[in-house]
Amino acid sequence: MEKFIQFLINGIAIGSIYALMTVGYSLVYSIMNFSNFAHGGVIMLGSYFGFFAITILKAPFWLAALIAMTGTTLLAVVIERLAYDPLRRRQAPSLYYIISAMGISIFLENIVLATLGADFRNYPPLFQTSGFYIGGISIGKLDVLILVVGTISLFGLMWLIEKTKIGLAIRATSFNLRAANLMGVNTEFVIFVVFGLGGLLAGLAGVMYGLRYTVWPQMGLITNKAFVAAVFGGLGSLPGAIVGAISLGIIEAMATGYISSNLRDLIAFVLLVTILVVRPSGIMGKATEDKA
């Protein structure tokens, strides 16, 4: 039982990192109807920004996170301007966006490979050594930090989406971009904000992931998991993305704890395929035909 609770807490912590990765991805999907595979590259760079902020600038966690988030927000917005905006002007089909996104992802990965090499780099141990003990359960300080920061950020995002004017504009645009435009919503600005928000949370996710695991140039591949989580929750649905991501984290932690860490990813992807077969719109998704 104690083991179970411990795995559960690990799972929720890693799940909240996935959630931070997934929401940016899901927001972009809900408005532009394509899978932004470049998001993984943004997370990876965020992780490197955080790593260098801590190792070179000797920044504390909060400053490293801030630096990484600034970098990734700018990066995400620049990618939108350079890679997607020209496609939108030409009303290109979503396949073009996906190809463009993959190109960006490969480009970012190779830039890092060429300049920093293929090494895995470990963040300096800022938190992990000491932990809390409650009953027989030990919880790492880092997991507590991740849980707190993740929860605050996700609630902040939900508040923004549900309660503010820009949030209303984002929702309206995701329901029907053309109609939103005719109501006077500046959909160009909405798209800009959505990429910015996605980038912001990607930076935070990158730093926390790096702290908990490690940093390497191909780490963008973990956005496959964001994709799994988004599909699981229902592509385009924000609460769905969060629930999906946390569920995925828990399933992985349980699989690692009770079965084997080698099977962790296998289990995650079997889950994706099963969900697509059983319930193509996910647990809370909007029904669309084209899940590119």
């Binding site: 209303l168 504009a169 309206a172 329901f175 029907n176 053309r178 109609a179 939103a180 435009n181 005719l182 109501m183 006077g184 919503v185 500046n186 959909t187 909007k286």
Partner: protein
């Protein structure tokens, strides 16, 4: 002139959809544009709303060049009730109306406009908490028109409001257009139902393949033998 369009051209890639259109809209009037499928009617309204770009020509609204961006155009006082309605199907009726007032901050005046819309469409008041996607086609058209009123526009662009509605409802919709006029709104009405459109309009333009081929006071246009044959289903005698 409230709206003055001169030599307007629109291209979709290689397709030349509007080929030098001149249209004038006088304040307080109902102006109709009739034309068959593919004539360029929706293209014209979308160019006015700023959601598609013009390749040539000028548009003046209230003596000023029309802003380019759709949100600026709504603020300037033009709203569109689009073809196919484009309501927000997963929002409630009331939330849809609120979206119509997206750019406004004058709370009291917004509430007054809610009251106006519900007075014109009592059916929407009964269903204000219903999810819009579950409304009937006619109710959705009413919602789209109500939403178009919520930005408190001076000029309303209506794109085939009677499309796909039963004859009874078509009459209701045209009565509503007259209600809009009575509220002091100016109306640019695009229709394929030329008979009804000409019966309520003050002035009419006939658009064919991207060009204005005829214009005049609505009753005059309605009496024209070519128009009667092409759009009103009457044979030449």
């Amino acid at each position: 002139m409230m709206l003055d369009i001169k030599n307007l051209h629109v291209h979709y890639g290689g397709i030349h959809a509007l080929k030098g259109v001149d249209i004038q809209v006088e304040e307080g009037k109902i102006i109709t544009i009739i034309g068959s499928n593919g004539a360029g009617k929706s293209t014209l309204l979308n160019a006015l709303s700023g959601v598609i770009k013009c390749s040539e020509g000028t548009i003046e609204f209230l003596g000023q060049p029309l802003p380019r961006k759709p949100n600026r155009i709504v603020s300037a006082g033009i709203s569109q009730v689009p073809e196919g309605r484009l309501i927000f199907v997963n929002l409630s009726v009331e939330e849809n109306l609120r979206m119509g007032a997206f750019l406004r901050n004058d709370k009291a005046a917004i509430e007054e406009d809610f009251a106006k819309v519900y007075e014109i469409f009592p059916r929407l008041l009964e269903r204000k908490d219903q999810i819009a996607g579950t409304l009937s086609g006619g109710e959705q058209q009413m919602l789209a028109m109500g939403r178009g009123l919520m930005s408190d526009p001076r000029l309303i662009l209506l794109d085939e409001p009677s499309l796909g509605l039963a004859p009874m409802l078509v009459n209701t919709i045209f009565d509503v257009i007259l209600d809009f006029k009575a509220l002091g709104k100016t109306i640019l009405l695009v229709e394929q139902n030329a008979y009804k459109a000409l019966s309520i309009a003050d002035y009419a333009y006939v658009l064919e393949q991207g060009k204005i081929v005829m214009e005049g006071d609505a009753p005059m246009v309605a009496k024209n033998p070519d128009i009667q044959q092409a759009y009103l289903g009457k044979r030449r005698t």
